[in-house]
Symmetry: C2
Subunit: 275 residues, 2 copies
C-alpha cells in the first residue's frame, strides 16, 4: 500500500477523508498488473476532484503507483484521494491544494461463475437514495447509503437494487443497471442520484459495436417488471445478467451475450467469456 | 491521541471510516479536562451507533479517554467511532461488532468576543441539504455537505445558513438555529435533514428555566426575515446572536442574554457571560 508514493499501511488521524469523508476513490481491476479502463477511471476521478475542488491528479503517477502495488498480478486496486490533513473544522483554504493519495491492493477474487452463466437473483433494497445533484455521478467517500443498503440482505442475493426517494430506479448497490425493453437497453439517468460507473460509460460507448441500442432515461419499477432482460455491471465484476427480481424471471443470460463477448475479447480475459 | 485506548496518531488504511465514512463522531468541549454536556453527547453518539448498527459504546471508557487526552486543560476533544477494519466491499457482518474508537485533541481556541457581544453576520449558503430521514439527526462521518457549504464564504461571515432542497431552513453549517417570533423561539424540525445538536437539545430543555418559550417547527426564509432575533449554537461555541442576515438587522444580542447567562452560570465559564 502507498500513501503519496511511500509504502505505508496507516494514515494520520487528522486526514479529512477520515474526519469528513472529504475525498473520492476509484477501484481498478488489473490484469497481470495492468489497470483496465484506466482512462475512463481517471476521467471520473478528475470529475470528482473538480466537483469537490480537490487537486487534479497526475495520471502518469497514478498509473505507475497502481502498477507498483499490483506487482504484475491480477488484482483489485483502490485509489483514494482525500483533502489531506488540516486543522479542525469543515473549512479548507481554497488555495491549499494538498491531498493524500492512497493506493491499496485487494486480491482479485473472481465472483462465482454461476453469476454470469445462470444470472443472479436481484434484491430490492428498502433503503432509498436521496436526490443530490451536487454529489450525484461522482464516486466520493460518503458511502453510508451503500453501507446501509448492503446490510439489508445476505448471500442469498448477489446484488441489491436502489431506488431514489421518488421511487425511481437508480442503480445497484455497487453496480449500474441496464434494462432491455423493445430491443433498447435503458440505463437510469444519474443526474440526481447514483454513481456514474466506468463500465456503464464504456458499454454506452461500445453498444453499437456490439450491435445493441442503448439510451439513458428514467426508469420506474414497473418498467423492470415488464422488461425482457436486465444486467448489472461494474469494472470489477464485468456483467451479471439478472435471472430473477420480485418473482419475475428474465431471459437475461442470452441477451447479454453480445456485451459479454465484447468485454472478454476486446478488454480482458478477466471478464467472463459468456456462453 | 488514542485509538481504542492506545496512544496512536494514525489509523489503518482499511478502516471503514476512511473507506466509506462508516461511523459517527462527537466534539466535546472540556473545561480543565472535564467534558461538558457529556450525557447529551453520549446519548447522540449511541443514537448514531444504533441507527448505523454500530457497537454501542461504554460511557465510562469514553469519559476516561477524554479526560486522559484533555489532560486537565481547556480543550476540544473529538471522539469518533468507525466500523473498524474489514475486507473490501460495502458489506459488513452484522454479528461482527468490532470498531475503532478514536479520541483526538484540538486546543481550545475561543471565538472572537465580538461574536457574542455584537453578534455575527450570517451567510446564506447556496448549497442545499438533501432530505434523508435515515441519516438525519445523527452526527455521522459523511460530511461532504458541510465541507461544500463551508467553502462558499470566507472570514467575512462567522457562519452560514443551510436550507434543504425544498427551501426550508434547517441549520447552520456547524451549528443549530433558533429564531424569535411573537415571543417564541423556534428551532427547525430536523427529522429529514440536519444534525440534532447537543446544545440545541440542552437549550430546549432549559428554556423554561431561562424564562423563555421554545418550540420545534418548520421554518421558511420569510420567517427569518420577519423575525425579531436569531441565534446559532453548538456545544463548542455556546451561543452566537445573529446581528445581520440578508440585509436585515436583528436585536439578537439583547434577546439571547437569558440563555447566555444560564450557560455561563450553570454549565461553564467557557461559555461567554453575555453583557
Amino acid at each position: 500500500m502507498l500513501v503519496n508514493g511511500k509504502p505505508q499501511t496507516t494514515i494520520a488521524l487528522s486526514d479529512r477523508g477520515l474526519l469528513y469523508g472529504d475525498g473520492v476513490f476509484e477501484t481498478f481491476l488489473c490484469e497481470q498488473g495492468q489497470p483496465l479502463l484506466f482512462d475512463l477511471h481517471m476521467q471520473r476521478l478528475q470529475r470528482g476532484c473538480q466537483r469537490l475542488s480537490l487537486s487534479l491528479q497526475d495520471s502518469a503517477v497514478i498509473r505507475q503507483e497502481i502498477e507498483q502495488v499490483a506487482a504484475n498480478k491480477d488484482a483489485v486496486i483502490r485509489v483514494s484521494v482525500t483533502r489531506g490533513e488540516r486543522v479542525r473544522g469543515y473549512r479548507y483554504e481554497r488555495t491549499d491544494m494538498s491531498f493524500n493519495r492512497i493506493v491499496m491492493r485487494d486480491d482479485h477474487r473472481p465472483s462465482p461463475s454461476s453469476n454470469t452463466e445462470q444470472g443472479i437473483a436481484l434484491y430490492l433494497c428498502q433503503h432509498r437514495l436521496p436526490q443530490h445533484a451536487v454529489l450525484a455521478g461522482i464516486k466520493h467517500l460518503n458511502r453510508l447509503d451503500q453501507v446501509l443498503a448492503r446490510s439489508e440482505w445476505d448471500s442469498d442475493y448477489a446484488e441489491g437494487l436502489l431506488l431514489n426517494d421518488l421511487g425511481e430506479v437508480i442503480e445497484g448497490c455497487m453496480s449500474n443497471l441496464f434494462v432491455l425493453r423493445d430491443n433498447i437497453w435503458t440505463t437510469p439517468d444519474l443526474s440526481h442520484s447514483g454513481v456514474d460507473g466506468v463500465m456503464r460509460d464504456y458499454l454506452l460507448g461500445a453498444a453499437s459495436e456490439c450491435g445493441q441500442s442503448c439510451q439513458i432515461d428514467k426508469l420506474e419499477l414497473v418498467d423492470l417488471l415488464e422488461a425482457e432482460a436486465m444486467f448489472l455491471c461494474n469494472s470489477v465484476i464485468g456483467i451479471w445478467p439478472v435471472l430473477s427480481f420480485q418473482k419475475q424471471h428474465y431471459n437475461s443470460v442470452q441477451k447479454v451475450q453480445p456485451f459479454m463477448h465484447h468485454l472478454h475479447e476486446k478488454l480482458s480475459i478477466l471478464y467472463p467469456a459468456g456462453l
